[in-house]
Symmetry: D4
Subunit: 249 residues, 8 copies
């Protein structure tokens, strides 16, 4: 393809259609276009499958509005994370075609988007306090076009709750398991199913939890193989991986 | 099935064959049998797709021999990791049908196994010292039946080396990126491709590396989404995830 | 009871009141109900011996009200921890039959509960700042039905204070020792008595205390055997263990 | 007895056998002897219920022999922990009446001891590599006179293995749960049973396990109440607590 | 004294005034009385040489007022640390005979106290931000009755500033060296003088300073012998040690 | 100079103008004056090449005004860092001849200063959130008199962005690379160019980033030689080093 | 240049000298050659100014011999670090033209190399145990062609030793300051001179030194600006930076 | 003295014996000699009161012999720490006038030294494994000329052992308290006595002890004021401080 493009350029040059200077101009960008085209390609890919992500913490309401405005002007999709409700609703009201989902603390484009289709991605949360991170993961899957199965509050303090969902878990393509406190859930799930388990430690806990260190280490040291870990509270990263795996099928 | 079993019990009870007490006794165990059957299923799945893994550190040569002998007697496949050469060769010589691969420090069954077929899994190592961990990952893929593309020594100290493999990377289904020192490789790769990147920090480094802490944190904090992390030096875990993802396709 | 429920079902089926299908429908849930009944059982146990616990941090006043309202509607007992005074009193006023204990930062059902009986559980606090955690432990014991001996401010800075309570300590069934700062108290107590010592490090301290790390490590490394440790500030967990031990007697 | 000793002194004094000075000399030590007698009392208690413990690491074979010889001369019971096999057998051969148990790496008196009686203490190990620590806990229970139920290799990688022992676990008085790697086992067990769970993290693991930090934190942050934690690899401490709890019944 | 008391008891017993049982009863308490008398002694010592210290963080203005009121009622001296200015002035106005020193964030009794006399204790601060901690140390010395030499802002960024005070430093009885950031000052001073250097790391810094960890470690690892370290920001503890050393002379 | 001063003293002594005692008196101070003159020299150097730096955190608006007023009175240059906008503008309005640069959160003298000249220092920021730290570095270079090339948002998530600036990077005299999250940028840049790379980790990140620990370790462990690291968020320190290197040329 | 190369190619193609295929072949490599030429350029630069570095830890004598043999065959320069004496001398004897310097634990090419010329780089070691790291730095400078001033054992325990070298330090272009224990030296030096100070923490120390953590943090938190830090024990990295700075002059 | 030296120089100059240049030459060194004389003074002080200390770890037997030989040649006193027995005895045999004390792992001069006199310094060890560190402290006191009271094995596991030494502790001038495991001893002692307590954490322990971190933190966070801490295992540093305090009396 690139090859063909170069051959085409050379032909045009030989035929005198393109001056040496013009060919050179094209070629000059080649290394960058090769990489640069990755950029465009990447962007296009993202635009088709995944919008640009805006992390909101540390940005003012005005900065958020400016970035979103610019994104929409460039016909981009908006996907803004970790937005408090007040700001989310303010921005939603200001920009038509956006929706704010409180559970996921996220603002995103709905205009022109198809409804995500049911998928075999499963998103689990160990406790109710872990739900915002789990919702961020679930919404990220939806941005890929896949609606995941959401199963909340199935931590090991009452393990029977998890077992009642075994059938759904066993036919999953990917499981996102979100857990704070002891972070035990992903290891348990991975021991029961075949699909890859993407483990998300959360900062939910206190004392020797050290803002997520405890579940992070528990997950990295899982005895069951098949567990991959992302950063503490990184629901987006986990949903992104689940989306990638699902898309490959 | 379970359904049928319950109906059968009820019938026997109605016919007076089973007393209420006896039915109750059977029913009491049901949840456990339900779980107990999970065991068989799980094992069968594992036996079909993946052998049992034996971690060798802390086991004597004699203990290893006993476990391997027992596994072979049960017609199981052997897959033993982190074996020093001397012990590996001793065991290989003792048990026919096993092979010891020095690069991966692994001993495994070859008898009756089909040659792994070329796959689009790519395994990268940042440095030459990371190769044993990378080989463990690659061999684990082979145990799944997938021969990965191995690309060694493409760390960011000379980033052009990596770029010359961009085409292979861009068509990968999953990339295992193994890196010690600064652990920079997976983040860089994830920024260039679409497939999930499974990042393996290694204990290769010194000083403030703290036996893998530095690359582990770098990988968990990757700015590029699409990076999943496993434990330090856990080549097996990374290869296992790559195998799972490949198998789903 | 569950047993009785099954017997009742079987009887109804034998009498023709319930069809096999209907019984099966009921029983279909049994595995889950069995586990689920474990849940109910658990709940019953909890209700008899211990109510459901609601951790308040991160929940709004409204969310708390909703959860408590629901619990009361289900005839459950309320036991809510780590509630600031204002919220505690607001909720107490809203829901009759609840009491707010400021020292323990806890809200709990009193309606229909018997007064806890004097027990040989002893709860110690090393300093006055450790009292809220110690009170959480003591109240948890009371929720089990056991009123513990409370001994406050007996840290090792003035060790004679502790020694004057030696008699009480020596006949204890379990001692909860709550300490921040250096966390020295549990090791000292365990060297003096026979009962198990449940050690609770607190986040009371500054500098190299690192929010409870210092006393946590001191307690885990106690030279005196007989010391069991719970998470930093986890008065509830310690009281729960003391209650379990007392109940077994 | 001490009481009797004092009465005896007073009698001798009244009979003029001991001068006031001599009695005083004896009594001078009383405060200390009273505390000191606590020592003796403690020792007696220990001797009846529990021998003195000798931690072997860092001691030479000769030092061990000297300590053991002295203990036996004082009619004490020997309980020496963390002894490598060679040293253990050397000492066992040298001192009649001792036994070396390889699994627990422990040397202990058997002469004149009654066989421990079956108890409702349960000792669990998550993996086979955790067995030495679990055996240390189990043997410590035996030194108290209680033979625990040993259940090995029931980690969550294959959780059905654990569930098949649910009945035994549910009637336990205390459960010692020993686990390295992710340290998930105690939290899972505590969610299923009523008895106190004494959690022992082990140093079995690698990488971000940091010699037991990962399971230690997982255990301290258990979502299920009823989990008490001891130091990494401290099987003795856990067995000691289980023994104390059992003894109180 | 205790000796005499015992002799007296024995005499009474011989004379038949006290029964053996009664003497025994008295003697039983001896150890506790012995320790109990330590309490009084200890308190007297403190009252003579040093007042009780009240740490203010976490206490409300009302709680502070209550404690101070009680202390004054018991004719005690007040020494309250880490009080913000507003609260400090409020309390000073409420209780006559107290003074609030803003630089040290401390409130203390002045009524009936002699002016501290000039001493050879030297208190150094490395930076201006370290002065509050240094002032806490200096004021603590004054509470002992010793006015220290205060030398502020002599950190190693401009080491010549320190050298101009060498003469004063070299005749010191004890030097309190307070430093945040790199914590270099105490090691440098200890290399220049003979007196003990009490090093106080402060939480002044940012980034990899980790709230005082950096200077704490630098001080603990001083190449110059003669450096003793107290907790981060613990000006009181350092001043207390300097006061103890001065008092012994 | 000092030499001349000594010769002058000796001459005066020989001529009998100064007594031996007086010469000795002068000489006694010599060590201190020698160091003391270093002070003046040092200050002059700083005044010529670099103003005194005022770290603003923890200082009130009034304290800042006092320090700045004093500095200006002494004809000093003002360079105040980490000032929030409101305070910065307040101070700028109060003191003529100062400028507040919001991007760098800095207030500095412009009166009588020459415009910085274009230099071959390059300042890179990996993300947009890293810009304040990068601007602090860039402004510090300007205070040296060198205007650096600013290149923002060239993190490795889209590595092609960086490559388009390769030419500028390759002719740099020093590169300041500012990065939060994974901290990957400096290692990548150092592998591509010859100039020293001064790496600045930032506290931009979340979870296992631990306020800059992750990028700090990544940078310290860079596989590419030529990377020097400063404290987390220390843009000033990095700009200072770049200025020193540039000035030497 | 590249531009000219492309024009030349196009001309040759137009003149029919190069077929489209051949031009394409050349151009195909362009992106890589652009980066690839960096490689060659880089390598050439390295060969001229700096040889390839071989880290020896973890490599066998045979592996070292193979790498060195290959390097020499490719006419490369050898620079191998952290080689124990025995191996170093073995390799030196095997390969003519190499020298082993015991103090620096390094093996390097001398054949065809000019003697390094005296430079104004200064390498300091705080203690005698830090000398191997300091020598590694010094030798690295020599590999650049610059002989540094070596000043050993000038730690702050006896600060006068350092001051006697002030003149040399003040005219330095770059100072490498190597220090273990408290890591105080670089901050002190940076306060006295103008040149950049490259700080190397070493693992020399014990206890709370944590293998270099203490001096690493002290150096990162230096109050004196002008300090850049490299990894613990990374003498090579520091020497490399000093060489880069010196080369630019 | 220095004074006299300067007067002598000036006289010689006035008499024309020394040229101005020559005097200047002498004086040129004065600042350094002034500091340098501090060195000599320091050394003399050390020689009188304290010898130079040689840390042995990492030094070969030959290096030790060379350093000791040189020290003796310069009429210095030898004080070498942390020497294994074999090396210690080898050196003792080689150099007459030295003694090796196995308990303290130290080699030191005895020739010409007076026997240390009984002092009121008390050195405590919590456990028997802490004795080598405690002996290092005790021997350091002896090198100052003060024989301390040694009290071994008085840890809090049996606190009555400590109380029997209360009288000795209460009249101490300084107490060195050495403790591994939980590090509880110094806090307990400081609560009972008036003298400064110098706390030495040791690396004796396992698991979450992290080579001395646990007792280090416990000691830094002591609730009892009057505790100063030195580095883990730094018996020498503690003994040095005790010696300094004693010497001042």
């Amino acid at each position: 393809m690139d090859k063909r493009e170069i051959l085409r350029l050379l032909k045009k040059h030989k035929r005198g259609e393109y001056s040496a200077r013009r060919v050179m101009e094209c070629l000059k960008d080649l290394p960058y276009r090769d990489l640069g085209s990755a950029k465009i390609d990447f962007h296009r890919k993202l635009r088709r499958g995944f919008p640009e992500v805006i992390f909101s913490p540390g940005k003012t309401r005005e900065q958020m509005a400016a970035i979103i405005g610019e994104t929409l002007r460039r016909k981009g999709e908006v996907f803004a994370l970790r937005l408090e409700e007040e700001t989310g609703i303010f921005l939603k009201n200001r920009f038509p075609g956006l929706e704010y989902r409180k559970e996921a603390k996220a603002l995103f484009s709905i205009k022109g988007k198809r409804k995500p289709k049911k998928s075999r991605i499963v998103v689990l949360s160990a406790g109710t306090s872990d739900i915002p991170v789990a919702e961020e993961a679930a919404l990220t899957c939806e941005m890929f076009g896949y609606e995941p199965e959401r199963i909340w509050d199935v931590g090991v303090a009452g393990v029977h709750r998890l077992f009642s969902f075994l059938k759904i878990l066993r036919r999953a393509t990917a499981v996102v398991a979100v857990a704070g406190m002891d972070g035990v859930l992903p290891a348990l799930v991975a021991g029961l199913i075949e699909a890859p388990v993407i483990a998300v430690p959360t900062s939910v806990g206190y004392g020797s939890h050290w803002k997520g260190l405890a579940p992070l280490l528990a997950m990295l040291n899982s005895c069951s193989p098949g567990v991959a870990v992302v950063n503490i509270d990184n629901g987006f990263g986990a949903g992104y991986l689940a989306g990638l795996i699902q898309r490959q099928k």
